[in-house]
């Protein structure tokens, strides 16, 4: 049985004009290789500018990889249609106040992916939307609301609902927790963990807070200047970090360091 998501030698670089006709390649990350199994959580950590966001965005399909391959259940990603891709990989964006269309009701926002990617009819779609809202802990009332009427944590719930509505295998989350304050952050964390228990979804998430990473993830991948410098089970990495960079990252969240 092939693993759920397998990434081999993935590489992304941007070109910038440097001279008159010459261009310069700026490597965002890579080559990186890793894989993830169903129901697992992979945390991608690293300092800013280490290419974690670009990596996540490439897997989601926002960016195009320069070289390398992504396999989902053994199938290369290029061979999948955009519908199949949406049904297996979904992304939650960093800031829900900018990723929800301000002129659409919550109902319409949730309806769009269903309408575009499934063959359900209107009543089936409505039922699915209600069910997903219940999953993320929102009342059906919110269907008629516009995003600017929601609180920030409710926006997060809607964003998660939009990702979950197609029952994907993998959810990508790009630093979604940084904009929330600490008590609301745990509400969302618990929600994500509950969804994982119920649906068996895999998460790949980018985070800064090492406590959260310890709490949520099964695997940790440390990126530094676009390269994977360390990868392994969470417990091993947190207890016995091998690399300098990993140690620094862990150190920033030690209680005595903060004083």
């Amino acid at each position: 049985m092939p693993s759920l998501l397998k990434v081999t030698n993935l590489c992304k670089s941007f070109t910038q004009p440097s001279g008159l006709f010459t261009t310069r390649e700026k490597v965002a990350y890579g080559p990186v290789s890793f894989s993830i199994e169903a129901g697992q959580t992979l945390a991608v950590v690293g300092e800013s500018g280490s290419g974690k966001s670009a990596l996540v965005r490439t897997i989601a399909g926002v960016l195009k990889a320069t070289s390398g391959n992504i396999f989902i259940k053994g199938e290369p990603l290029e061979s999948l249609s955009s519908q199949q891709r949406c049904l297996s990989v979904r992304m939650i964006f960093q800031d829900p106040s900018s990723s929800l269309n301000p002129k659409m009701t919550v109902g319409k926002i949730l309806n769009a992916p269903l309408e575009l990617n499934t063959n359900k009819n209107a009543t089936e779609r409505h039922d699915k939307i209600i069910e997903t809202l219940k999953l993320v802990g929102l009342l059906p009332d919110y269907l008629a609301f516009f995003p600017n009427m929601l609180s920030s944590v409710q926006k997060h719930q809607v964003a998660i609902a939009r990702a979950m509505i197609l029952d994907p295998d993998i959810i990508l989350a790009d630093e979604i927790l940084t904009t929330l304050d600490i008590s609301l952050r745990f509400k969302i964390v618990n929600l994500l963990l509950k969804i994982q228990r119920e649906k068996g979804t895999s998460y790949i998430f980018v985070a800064h807070n090492m406590h959260l990473v310890k709490h949520m993830s099964d695997q940790i991948m440390v990126l530094h200047q676009g390269k994977i410098i360390e990868k392994g089970p969470t417990a091993t990495i947190c207890e016995h970090p091998q690399q300098e960079q990993t140690k620094y990252l862990l150190l920033t969240h030690q209680p005595d360091y903060r004083k």
């Binding site: 399909g61 964006f93 900018s98 990723s99 269309n101 301000p102 659409m104 769009a112 992916p113």
Partner: protein
């Protein structure tokens, strides 16, 4: 009825309705809107209720001043011209040509410009880059000059003048709508919609169009103002409406020899153009402010 009624409203207003309710509170803008509606309907319906036809000549009353001036006649409220034609009737006919022409141009140019601008923003690569260089070149030609060039090629007439002005304003509008749409495309909700596999039409209809109301109003307002001024200018220079069509600009040009005899004939058409533009501008500004307040 909602279970959780945090907003104390029975029904949730859509953004457009909300903007409309704000707009209704701006009395000057509402007055401008009604004036605009009245202007358009009266200029369309004027042949039916005006007491004088704009073409009837009356040798009995020539070059009459407006009725409030010395020697004026209440039959011709704004006076008559050198052939005894009623100025007010001629003004309404001119308004019909100028205003109607400007509205037509605005409509077509807005449609074409939006389509091409959106196409350029949504495609990348050679096609877009060719379009950009072409636009750069076309934008360097002053619109009056390009209108003159096109009219020379088509031959002067009212319809050709409208086509020429439309084409000469098109590059500006394409560039403006391109910039607006390009800015919108970088928003995250558009990226999210793209990831859902939305087609370009759907992306444009649901993602982009509802969110670019405010800049669109500004652009449309400018387009309308420019087209009125250009129609009148070309008419004034004799490249627009040909006799016996009376367009506001050509009305001024025809009365130029009489400027010292009866300055009214030159004053009124100019004032009419001025008033139309001011009314439309106030209406558009009010609408724009309502949109801004509604989005906050």
């Amino acid at each position: 009825m909602l279970i959780n009624n945090g907003f104390n409203e029975d029904k949730i207003q859509s953004p457009l309705r909300y903007i409309w309710s704000i707009f209704k509170g701006k009395s000057i803008a509402v007055v401008a809107m009604w004036l605009m509606i009245i202007l358009i309907t009266t200029s369309i319906l004027s042949p039916w209720f005006m007491p004088h036809s704009p073409l009837t000549q009356d040798p009995e009353s020539m070059l009459l001043p407006p009725y409030w001036a010395k020697g004026g006649n209440i039959n011709h409220i704004l006076g008559t011209d050198d052939l005894g034609r009623d100025t007010l009737s001629r003004l309404f006919q001119g308004l019909q040509f100028t205003l109607g022409g400007a509205l037509t141009i605005t409509f077509f140019v807005a449609f074409l410009g939006m389509v091409i601008g959106a196409g350029a923003a949504l495609t990348k690569g050679v096609k877009a880059s060719v379009l950009h260089h072409l636009l750069d070149a076309l934008l360097a030609i002053p619109s009056l000059l390009s209108a003159l060039i096109l009219i020379t090629i088509f031959g002067p007439s009212y319809t050709n003048c409208l086509i020429a002005i439309g084409l000469s304003l098109l590059p500006q509008f394409i560039r403006a709508s391109y910039i607006v749409i390009e800015q919108e495309l970088s928003k995250q909700y558009i990226v999210a919609l793209q990831l859902d596999g939305a087609t370009k039409t759907r992306l444009f209809r649901y993602g982009i169009l509802p969110n670019i109301l405010e800049p669109t109003i500004t652009i449309l307002n400018r387009l309308f103002t420019m087209s009125i001024i250009e129609i009148a200018t070309l008419g004034f220079l004799g490249f627009g409406a040909q006799l016996p069509q009376t367009e506001l600009g050509s009305l001024i040009a025809n009365s130029m020899e009489l400027i010292y005899l009866s300055p009214w004939l030159v004053t009124f058409p100019g004032l009419a153009i001025f008033l139309v533009i001011v009314i439309v501008n106030i209406f558009a500004e009010g609408l724009r402010h309502a949109v801004i307040e509604g989005e906050e």
